[in-house]
C-alpha cells in the first residue's frame, strides 16, 4: 500500500496508511501530550489531551484515534489547543488528591509533568473529589483509586497484552473506578501480578509496594541487566536507593520482552539482599582437623578465611585425584551462572580434574533437546526468535505451560492468537493456554510419540505434506512414512486418549496454516523417550516445511536463565564449548593446545550417572557450583545417599541450600546483581549481565572463585576480567566467535539487541533464524520412531500418573523465589492437583492434607482439587523442599540423553491423618494462615 503524505505544523511527513496522527507527529519529532494512548494498545481517545486541529475537520479530534489521510493539514500546538488541554488537565486535577509532595511518583508522573507544561492549577475547578479507599492488601502493588485518572491503560494492558482482564471500568462519570469484578481486592481476581499495568500507569495510582518511601525518581539509581529467572531473558532495570538497597525492578525495552515482565522478574528480587545470603566460607570443623568424608560431615560448620577454605579444597581434590585417578572427580556447573563462569567450570574439570565429568541441570530439562535436535537438524536450539512467534499463522504448543513457566513468551503466543493465528495445545493438563486454544489435545502423559506420529499419518494420508521441502532438504523420508503408516487416528486414540477426529483436525490445521510454529518444553523432554519425542517433533516440522522461515520452526523453551549458554560453552560431559565432541581428535587437539593440557577423549558422566557412580564409590569428590540436586534431582533419597558417601563435597552458592547443608566446604558466591558477564536466553541471544551492587560480606563472583582454585591447583590461570574470558570463549567456539564484551556494552553495536548465535565473526550481526538455506548438518534427517510406553506404568497399587512441573510464582528449587516476600506470600506452600472425581473417589476435599506415595518414597502435601488435570493424572510443582515432589519421581532415564522421567511416575494417594510437621511449625511461626 502506498504511504500517505500529510502536513503537521508546517512539516510534511509520509507514513503508512492506518497510522494515526499522533504517531505520524512522533515520526516528525513532534511530541503530542497523551495520557491514555500507548502504542501497543488499542487507541480509545479517552483522555482528550492529544487533541489537534485538522483543516476541514470540525472540532478538536483526538490525534491518537484519528487515522492519517492524504493531504491532511494538522496543527498540534495552537492557542486554542493549549487552552483546551489546560482545561482538560484542570478538570482531572480537580478530582485528584493534592498529594504530589508525598507521592512516590513525584518526578515521574505524566499528569504532574503536563500540569507543569500547560500551567494547569489544581484549584481552578472546585467540587467534590471521588473518595475511594486504596487496595493495599497484596505485597506487590498498591492501587490508589483516588489518584487514578481512568485513562484505561492498565485495563487494556491486562486485557489486550496479558489476555486476562482482571480489571475494568466500573460505575461511570465522576464515580468511575477501575477495579476488579465485585471490587474485590486484586488478589481475589484472576490477576497474575505481572505488574505490566503498573508499568503503563501514567500516575501514582499503581505503585509497587516495595518502592514506597524509598526515594523519588531522581534519587534512585537504575542498572540495566538481564532477569535471573527463566530462559526468556527479559531485560530489567534494578532500581537501587541511596542506601544501596534494591527497592524494585522495572522492565527495560529488551529484545525478548519489550518492557513486559512476569511476576518473578518484576517482584522476585528480594532474595538478592536476603539476610540468608552466605557471607563467609564455611568448613566442617572436623575437616580442619584433617578428617574427611562422612565422618567429618557430622561436625558443625565454622567460618574460615578464603585462603584456608580454598587451600582445603585444592588439597582435597588433589588428593582424591592422586589416589583414585581423574575419573573419581566430577563437577556440576550451573545454568544460573554466567557463560564465562560455566566456561571456566568445564575448563577446570577438563584441564584440572582431568576428566569430562562435567554436567549441569540441562540434563534434567533439555538434554533430550540437545541430543534430539542435533540428530535431526545438527543444532540443538530454538530455531526461531521470540518476537517471531507473533507472526505465526498457527502455534502448536506441546508440553509447555507457557504462561506459567515462560510467561513473557506466553504473551507472544497470545499476541499471535490475537493476530488471527490458530492455537493448538497438546497437554494432559488444561493449562491456561488450553483455555484459549482452538484445539486442546489432552494426551495421556508419555504418549507424545504416538500423538505426533498420528498427526504425520494424517498429513501424509491427506497429501498435505511439503513435497518440495522433503525432497530438497531432508533425507530418510521413506522410513518415516513406513513407520507412521500404522498410526491411524483410531490407533492413536487408543494409545493417547485423544479423540481421532480431534487429532485429524489438529494435523490439518497445523499442516495447512501457511506458517506453523511448534513450541515445546519439558512435557516433551522429561521422559525416558525424551529424545524420541524431540525427534518426532522435528519430523513434524520438516514434513510440512515449517522450518527456516519467520513464524515457523521448532522452538524448545529452555528453563533456566542461562541453560542455553551453559550448554553452549561446554558444560556437558560429551562436548567442548560450541558442541565440539570430546571424541573428535581435531577438537581435542585444539583445546589441548589452548589449555596446555592432555584432555580425556572419553565422554564424562552425566548428572544422574554421577549420582549413581557416587553410590558405587567411583566418584569420590564432587564440586557443585550453584546447583541444588537435593531438591531438583529425581529420587532425592537416593541423591542424599550418594552425596553422603563422598570423600569431599564442595558447594559454591549464594545460599545454604539443601545440598550445601550436606557439604564439607561451602563457598559464598555473588548473585547475578553483583557481577558482570553474559547469559544466553532460549532464543540463543547472548545478553549482558551488569554488576549493580557489591556482594555481601566476603562473597565473590563464581569466576573469581574458580580462578583462585585453579591457581592453587597449579593450572596457571590468570583471569582479570570477564571480557578476557569472553575473548577466550570466542576464540575457541565458532558459534560464539563474534561475541565480544565490547560489542555488548553501552556504545557497542550489539548493546540493544545482544547477539544471537551463530555469530561467526566480529562484524556478524547474529542469526535470528536457523536453517534458512540448509540445516546445520546439511540435510534434515527424518527419524523413524515408534511409540514406547513410559518406564513406569500404573498398576493396581499405584494407579495414578504423577507429573511434575513449575508454577508461575516459584522458580526451580525455590531458593530465590521463596526468599522474595511477595512470591512466598501468594504461594507459601506446594500442593498436588487432583481432578474432582478422583478426589471424591478417595474422599479428599480441597485443601486437605494428602499423602502421596510412589515406589521410592512418600510426601504429604495439600490437595488442590481442580479439573485442570484429568482423572488419571495428578500434578505437583517441584519447588518445595519440605514436600519435595522429587522424593517420588522416577530416576529412570532416556537411554540417549540420560534425562530423567519427571513427567511420569506411578503413585497412589490417600487422605493424610494430620498435617505434616513442617506445616505445623510454619503456622506457629506465621501466626496462622494468611487469609
Amino acid at each position: 500500500m502506498a504511504d500517505i503524505n500529510l502536513t503537521i505544523d508546517g512539516k510534511t511527513v509520509s507514513v503508512p496508511a492506518g497510522t494515526n496522527v499522533l504517531e505520524a507527529a512522533t515520526k516528525l519529532g513532534v511530541d503530542i501530550p497523551r495520557l491514555c494512548y500507548d502504542q501497543e494498545l488499542s487507541a480509545v481517545g479517552a483522555c482528550r489531551l492529544c487533541i489537534v486541529e485538522i483543516e476541514k475537520m470540525r472540532g478538536l479530534p483526538a490525534s491518537c484515534a484519528t487515522p492519517v489521510a492524504e493531504g491532511m493539514v494538522v496543527r498540534t500546538n495552537t492557542e486554542k489547543i493549549r487552552k483546551y488541554r489546560k482545561m482538560t488537565l484542570e478538570l482531572l486535577l480537580a478530582n485528584h488528591p493534592q498529594d504530589c509532595l508525598t507521592c512516590d511518583k513525584n518526578g515521574d508522573c505524566r499528569l504532574q509533568e503536563y500540569a507543569y507544561i500547560y500551567g494547569a492549577r489544581q484549584d481552578t475547578y472546585k467540587g467534590e473529589r471521588k473518595q475511594y479507599a486504596p487496595d493495599d492488601s497484596n505485597p506487590f502493588f498498591i492501587r490508589d483509586h483516588e489518584k487514578c485518572i481512568v485513562c484505561g491503560r492498565c485495563i487494556r494492558t491486562c486485557a489486550e497484552v496479558m489476555g486476562i482482564g482482571a480489571i475494568d471500568y466500573t460505575w461511570r462519570g465522576f464515580k468511575a473506578k477501575v477495579t476488579t469484578s465485585y471490587d474485590v481486592p486484586i488478589e481475589e481476581s484472576p490477576c497474575v501480578f505481572c505488574g505490566n499495568c503498573v508499568t503503563v500507569c501514567p500516575t501514582g495510582a499503581l505503585q509497587p509496594r516495595t518502592r514506597v518511601g524509598q526515594g523519588r525518581s531522581w534519587e534512585l539509581k537504575r542498572v540495566r541487566t538481564t532477569c535471573p529467572y527463566c530462559g526468556v531473558g527479559c531485560s530489567i532495570e534494578l532500581v537501587i536507593n541511596r542506601d544501596g538497597q534494591v527497592v524494585g525492578v522495572d522492565p527495560a525495552d529488551g529484545p525478548a520482552n519489550h518492557n513486559k515482565l512476569c511476576v518473578k522478574g518484576r517482584f522476585g528480587f528480594e532474595f538478592i539482599q536476603s539476610p540468608d545470603r552466605l557471607k563467609k566460607p564455611l568448613v566442617r570443623k572436623a575437616l580442619r582437623e584433617g578428617k574427611r568424608g562422612p565422618a567429618a560431615r557430622d561436625s558443625e560448620f565454622v567460618e574460615v578465611s578464603w585462603d584456608e577454605a580454598m587451600d582445603l579444597v585444592a588439597k582435597g581434590l588433589g588428593e582424591i585425584k592422586a589416589k583414585h585417578g581423574p575419573a573419581a572427580l566430577a563437577g556440576f556447573t550451573s545454568a544460573k551462572c554466567t557463560n564465562e563462569e560455566n566456561y571456566l567450570m568445564q575448563k577446570l574439570v577438563r584441564q584440572g580434574f582431568g576428566s569430562n565429568n562435567v554436567d549441569h541441570c540441562a540434563r534434567l530439562c533439555h538434554a533430550s533437546t540437545v541430543a534430539g535436535l542435533a540428530l535431526s537438524f545438527g543444532s540443538g536450539a530454538m530455531t526461531n526468535s521470540i518476537d517471531d512467534i507473533a507472526q505465526s499463522k498457527c502455534v502448536f504448543v506441546i508440553g509447555s505451560n507457557t504462561t506459567e513457566a515462560h510467561p513473557v513468551i506466553g504473551i507472544q503466543v497470545k499476541k499471535a492468537k490475537r493476530n488471527g493465528a490458530k492455537l493448538i495445545v497438546a497437554d494432559p493438563r488444561r493449562v491456561d493456554l488450553a483455555e484459549l486454544a482452538d484445539l486442546h489435545l489432552r494426551q495421556i502423559p508419555g504418549s507424545d510419540v504416538a500423538l505426533l506420529n498420528g498427526m504425520m499419518h494424517v498429513i501424509i494420508r491427506d497429501d498435505l505434506y511439503d513435497k518440495d521441502f522433503v525432497a530438497a532438504r531432508t533425507e530418510n523420508f521413506e522410513a518415516l512414512k513406513k513407520t507412521v503408516e500404522k498410526y491411524t487416528p483410531e490407533y492413536v486414540e487408543n494409545l493417547s486418549g485423544v479423540p481421532a477426529a480431534l487429532l485429524v483436525e489438529a494435523a490439518r490445521t497445523y499442516a495447512r496454516s501457511g506458517g506453523s510454529a511448534i513450541i515445546y518444553s519439558m512435557g516433551i523432554t522429561q521422559h525416558t523417550t525424551g529424545t524420541d519425542n524431540v525427534q518426532t517433533v522435528a519430523n513434524l516440522a520438516m514434513l510440512t516445511g515449517n522450518i527456516g522461515r519467520p513464524g515457523t520452526g521448532v522452538n524448545p523453551l529452555r528453563g533456566q536463565n542461562n541453560v542455553q549458554g551453559a550448554c553452549d560453552v561446554g558444560a556437558l560431559p560429551n562436548v567442548f564449548p560450541g558442541y565440539q565432541a570430546v571424541t573428535n581428535a581435531d577438537a581435542r587437539a585444539k583445546f589441548e593446545k589452548a589449555w596446555g593440557a592432555k584432555l580425556s577423549d572419553k565422554p564424562g558422566l552425566t548428572v544422574t550417572e554421577v549420582i549413581n557412580a557416587a553410590v558405587r564409590g567411583e566418584i569420590r569428590g564432587l564440586y557443585v557450583m550453584g546447583e541444588n540436586p537435593m531438591v531438583s534431582d529425581p529420587d532425592i533419597n537416593h541423591v542424599r545417599e550418594a552425596l553422603g558417601d563422598l570423600d569431599l563435597l564442595v558447594v559454591q552458592d549464594i545460599f545454604l541450600t539443601e545440598t550445601a547443608k550436606l557439604a564439607d566446604v561451602v563457598l559464598p558466591s555473588a548473585s547475578f546483581a553483583e557481577k558482570d558477564g553474559t547469559f544466553t536466553n532460549t532464543e540463543r541471544r547472548v545478553q549482558l549481565v551488569v554488576k549493580a551492587l557489591e556482594a555481601p560480606g566476603e562473597a565473590r563472583p563464581d569466576w573469581v572463585i574458580l580462578n583462585d582454585l585453579a591457581r592453587r591447583m597449579g593450572l596457571g590461570w590468570d583471569y582479570r576480567s570477564v571480557a578476557q574470558i569472553m575473548d577466550e570463549v570466542a576464540d575457541l567456539t565458532p558459534i560464539y566467535a563474534g561475541v565480544r564484551w565490547g560489542r555488548l556494552v553501552e556504545g557497542g553495536d550489539a548493546h540493544d539487541k545482544g547477539l544471537q548465535w551463530p555469530v561467526p565473526a566480529n562484524d556478524h550481526p547474529g542469526t535470528p533464524i536457523l536453517h534458512t538455506q540448509k540445516f546445520s548438518r546439511g540435510l534434515g534427517q527424518f527419524a523413524a520412531i515408534d511409540y514406547l510406553p513410559a518406564a513406569e506404568e500404573t498398576d493396581a497399587e499405584y494407579p495414578l500418573v504423577l507429573s511434575t512441573g513449575r508454577m508461575l510464582f516459584h522458580y526451580h528449587t525455590g531458593t530465590m523465589t521463596r526468599r522474595s516476600k511477595g512470591l512466598n506470600w501468594i504461594r507459601p506452600e506446594g500442593y498436588i492437583e487432583i481432578n474432582p472425581e478422583t478426589a471424591a473417589h478417595y474422599g479428599i476435599a480441597d485443601r486437605d492434607w494428602v499423602k502421596v506415595t510412589s515406589r521410592r518414597g512418600s510426601v504429604v502435601t495439600r490437595a488442590r482439587v481442580s479439573d485442570i488435570t484429568s482423572q488419571r493424572v495428578v500434578f505437583m510443582p517441584f519447588h518445595f523442599a519440605e514436600a519435595a515432589a522429587n522424593v517420588l519421581t522416577n530416576p529412570a532415564v532416556d537411554p540417549r540423553a540420560k534425562i530423567p522421567e519427571y513427567k511420569v511416575a506411578a503413585v497412589k494417594i490417600e487422605k493424610a491423618a494430620e498435617a505434616p510437621a513442617w506445616a505445623a511449625a510454619k503456622e506457629v511461626a506465621a501466626g496462622g494462615e494468611r487469609k
Partner: protein, 171 residues
C-alpha cells in the same frame, strides 16, 4: 484463569453472601437459551436478576465463562446500568422519597428515621434480607409528601412516629 483455581472461583453450591447458597439451575436454563447468540449479555443479566433478585457473583462468574469475556467486564457493564443490583435485595423494598416536595417537607428526616429503624444506610439491605432501603426522587405522590413506598404500597403524610409501625407489617 485456569492456572489459579483457588483464586476468583467461587464454586457453585458454596455458601456466599448472607449465608445463602447459590443454586445454578435457573441460570443454566437462562444461558441455554442464549447459546451461540450475539449481544446476549444484557438480556442474560436481566433474566438472571429477575430470577435471583440480584446478580450473585457466582452467576456473573458463570456468565463470564459462558460468553468468554472477563468477569470484570460484565461487572463493569452491570455497574453502568442503574437497573442491576449487585448485592442481594431484601424481600421488601423501602423507597423513601427525596424529591423536591418531600425534601421541603422533611423527607431527609424520614429517611434518617427509616435508616435508624432498619440499621442500614440507603442502598443497603438488612442482614436478614428482610428490607432494602433506597432513596428515590419523586414517587408521583407530591400531594401526600413526605412519602415513601414499601413494595407497591405508597404511604404519605409521614411522621417519624409512623415509621416503625409501617415497617413492622412487612415480613
Amino acid at each position: 484463569m485456569s492456572a489459579m483455581p483457588e483464586k476468583n472461583t467461587m464454586p457453585t453450591g458454596e455458601a456466599h453472601e448472607n449465608g445463602t447458597v447459590f443454586d445454578p439451575t435457573s441460570l443454566e436454563g437462562i444461558l441455554e437459551k442464549y447459546r451461540g447468540a450475539k449481544g446476549a449479555l444484557i438480556p442474560i443479566l436481566q433474566q438472571t436478576q429477575a430470577s435471583y433478585g440480584y446478580l450473585p457473583r457466582p452467576a456473573v462468574g458463570r456468565i463470564a465463562k459462558f460468553l468468554k469475556v472477563p468477569e470484570s467486564k460484565i461487572y463493569g457493564v452491570a455497574t453502568f446500568y442503574a437497573q442491576f443490583h449487585l448485592h442481594p435485595r431484601g424481600r421488601n423494598i423501602v423507597r423513601v422519597c427525596l424529591g423536591t416536595a418531600c425534601h421541603v417537607r422533611g423527607g431527609e428526616g424520614i429517611l434518617d428515621a427509616v435508616s435508624d429503624e432498619l440499621k442500614v444506610k440507603p442502598g443497603e439491605t438488612t442482614p436478614d434480607l428482610r428490607y432494602t432501603l433506597e432513596r428515590v426522587a419523586c414517587l408521583g405522590a407530591c400531594g401526600l409528601s413526605p412519602a415513601m413506598m414499601v413494595n407497591d404500597t405508597t404511604y404519605g403524610r409521614l411522621t417519624k412516629k409512623k415509621i416503625a409501625e409501617i415497617l413492622k407489617k412487612y415480613e
